[in-house]
């Protein structure tokens, strides 16, 4: 599938002899005749064969599998997968032992699932339910990532973690226009599950919830989607459900320095246990899409401050052209309205966050008959109150977009630093 991306490696190719299986496989692909026809060509064929094997390994390693263990948790600067299944849990058990036990069990399961493995070994006992629920058997890992974070409520007196709470880590303040509904807010623990396959993502959440039974319960869940890689092979900036490109101004995740500045908490920031972790803001933002759909194109573009088609800032040509908030048209009006989404979100450019949002569809609003759809906004930042909060305060007050959106859900989680094979997620708390 992705053979063309692979260069054959030169080492030891010519030394590799054909195994019986190679011969059978080549026979299957019509290559056997060539082998039988000329011995000297054998070396080249093994090279071809090696190349394919390399490609296969690479496809599963580099393209389908995101390592679970590492300095940072996966799923933060990981390029966004096609789907998300977000789950917020509340602990029902108390005491740090129960919490540690849960984190250990979740870590083992998450690491296994990230490798495309079931959550545990099957006993084969017909008198027992299977250990893994089975719906992802035979599926690729699909770039599954599972990212864990602690909500502010986890630092109350139930687990003896009061002293560990980062000083500024609390629930978000109320923003202008918030219409939060309790069923979409909060949670002791947030688990962001992303994958290129929805069934793989669902399987992960389901098995984590199952492992948590008796210790923690689901508080709320929300699935989300983006255009898939298959639908958008060029991997352009995804469009939100209002039809506009969303995420153009994200910082470069490949730039370590920038990530350290914007995303990763540093030990000097506060509690040392959060070093290498990141603070996540989650907002369930319902879009009034029926109203949006009857707004004029001019209105829509002025609202975002970008062209709908190209994604370019108003007055510019290409999506990634600089945003010039001072540019004026012939009559002296600002090209990009000062209360447009891009103008406010950009500001002076000094405050950045890493956005990792997905669209959601929650079925139908039974009261109105309208679609319950919108944005599951997710951002990661080094400090919620220095980055997300001032930004959102500004947007909540002035953003033209507010006419078309409604914040109904809100949660924040302190996502732990990553862990190694001998450790577990959240170990830094104990």
């Amino acid at each position: 599938m992705s053979d063309h991306k692979q260069q054959p490696s030169n080492d030891s190719i010519l030394n590799k002899s054909l195994t019986r299986r190679d011969v059978l496989r080549l026979a299957g692909t019509g290559g056997l005749g060539l082998i039988l026809g000329g011995g000297a060509i054998g070396g080249l064929l093994t090279a071809e064969n090696k190349r394919k094997e390399g490609a296969r390994v690479s496809a599963s390693n580099a393209e389908e599998r995101i390592p679970f263990y590492g300095t940072h948790q996966a799923g933060i600067i990981t390029p966004a997968q096609n789907f998300i299944y977000f789950a917020a849990f509340d602990m029902t058990a108390t005491g740090s032992k129960a919490l540690q036990k849960l984190f250990r069990a979740w870590t083992a399961a998450a690491a296994a699932m990230s490798e495309g493995q079931p959550v545990g070994d099957e006993s084969g006992n017909y008198n027992l339910p299977p250990v893994d629920t089975g719906e992802s058997a035979g599926l690729s890992p699909s770039r599954l990532t599972i990212t864990f974070g602690a909500g502010p409520s986890l630092f109350d007196d139930r687990f003896g973690l009061g002293a560990k709470r980062p000083p500024s880590f609390t629930d978000l303040p109320a923003f202008n226009g918030d219409q939060l509904e309790p069923q979409w807010c909060g949670g002791d623990i947030g688990v962001q599950v992303c994958a290129d396959d929805m069934q793989v993502a669902f399987h992960a959440v389901r098995n984590l919830a199952r492992l948590a039974r008796g210790t923690a319960v689901l508080r709320w869940v929300q699935e989300g989607f983006q255009r898939t890689a298959a639908a958008d092979p060029k991997s352009g900036t995804p469009r939100n459900l209002l039809g506009f490109k969303d995420g153009t101004a994200n910082p470069a995740v490949t730039n370590d320095q920038e990530m350290n500045k914007v995303v990763w908490a540093q030990s000097s920031d506060g509690p040392s246990w959060m070093a290498g972790g990141s603070y996540m803001a989650v907002r369930r933002i319902r879009m009034r899409i029926e109203i949006w759909d009857r707004s004029t194109l001019k209105d829509q573009e002025d609202t975002f401050g970008r062209y709908r088609g190209s994604g370019a800032p108003l007055g510019a040509v290409n999506e990634f052209d600089p945003v010039d908030l001072t540019a004026k048209d012939k009559s002296g009006n600002l090209m990009i309205p000062a209360d447009s989404h891009v103008a406010l979100a950009r500001g002076d450019g000094s405050v950045q966050i890493l956005r990792r949002s997905y669209s959601y569809s929650g079925g139908m609003d039974l009261k109105t008959g309208q679609l319950d759809a919108g944005l599951l906004f997710i951002s990661f930042q080094r400090d919620l109150f220095k980055q997300f909060v001032p930004l959102q305060q500004k947007l909540a007050k002035n953003d033209r977009l507010n006419e078309y959106i409604l914040h109904v859900g809100s949660a924040v989680f302190a996502c732990f630093p990553g862990t190694s094979k001998n450790g577990y997620i959240g170990e830094v708390l104990f």
Binding site: N125, P129, R210, R213, G214
Partner: protein, 290 residues
């Protein structure tokens, strides 16, 4: 209702009865899918496995005892219906059913008896609908006993038939293990949702009875489970306690409050406590070997 369990030491005697994958065939197991023999496991079968004859004997006497009480209390109920005593019949309805709900999986393995006794409005063809819920609808929705005499007679006969048939049932440990989980699944699928007692809203009586029935099985098998997996035994014990404590908050007099008095949060919490219990309980099959 509580039953004190005295475990005979004979329960712990090992025998070859349950070696390998072979399940003891019986009429009860016939109603359930019998696990296929697993070739992979044939070599790893334990040389000896526990003898559950004392446990099954104990459970059988429990089932018979419950069934005796069920017939007795059902007769009081059907007599009240036939005598046109509406309020008395309503009082007797839920307590009589509880004896049945404690041993439901046993009854379910006896063919048509379960639908005849316990079918809800759309479980069977309208023309065949009879039993408790048929009368329940008349008592609570139509507010009368009129026309229910025939159903009352039938119900008592069905209850007596259950009592007669229960003697013949060939219980085994596998039925007990799956039965315990089934009892909780009953709660999950119809009691928690308030669908079981559509007119009387006495769902919590059934809820509690199902849980008590499952707990009885657990108590009988508990020593064997403690030997196999002490952690699991402890966990299940704790979660029974947690669920019963949760249920206890809704006690009222000798029974329970009307299910419509519970708010969504309370119902969800009950449901989550139930799932928390049923998950480890579903692993009680460990005592059966592979």
């Amino acid at each position: 209702m509580r039953y004190k369990v005295v475990l005979p030491t004979g329960l712990l005697v090992a025998s070859l009865l349950f070696s390998g994958c072979g399940q003891k065939e019986d009429t009860a197991a016939d109603a359930k899918p019998t696990p296929p023999a697993a070739a992979d496991n044939a070599g790893t079968a334990p040389a000896s496995a526990p003898d559950f004859s004392a446990a099954t004997k104990q459970y059988r006497s429990f089932a018979i005892e419950q069934c005796d009480l069920f017939v007795k209390e059902t007769e009081k109920f059907t007599n009240a219906v036939k005598a046109g005593k509406l309020e008395e019949a309503k009082q007797l309805y839920a307590p009589a059913r509880a004896y049945y709900e404690r041993i439901e999986p046993v009854a379910e393995s006896l063919g048509d008896l379960d639908p005849n006794i316990d079918a809800r409005i759309n479980d069977v063809d309208a023309a065949e609908w009879r039993g408790f819920h048929r009368i329940e609808k008349a008592l609570w929705e139509d507010k009368t006993t009129a026309g229910q005499e025939g159903y009352a007679d039938q119900l008592l006969k069905d209850a007596q038939l259950l009592r007669a048939k229960i003697e013949t049932i060939d219980l085994d440990a596998s039925l007990m293990v799956t039965g315990a989980v089934e009892l909780l699944n009953e709660v999950s699928s119809s009691k928690v949702t308030g669908e079981e007692e559509l007119y009387s809203h006495t769902d919590l009586y059934d809820f509690a009875a199902n849980v008590e029935g499952a707990e009885k099985i657990f108590e009988i098998l508990r020593p064997e489970l403690a030997k196999k997996d002490a952690g699991l035994e402890k966990e299940i014990g704790e979660r029974f306690a947690a669920l019963k404590q949760e249920l206890g908050a809704f006690k009222k007099g000798d029974g329970y409050v009307d299910y419509t008095e519970l708010n969504q949060d309370q119902i969800r919490k009950l449901s989550q406590n139930l799932d928390a219990l049923a998950e480890p309980l579903s692993n009680m099959g460990k005592i059966l070997g592979v």
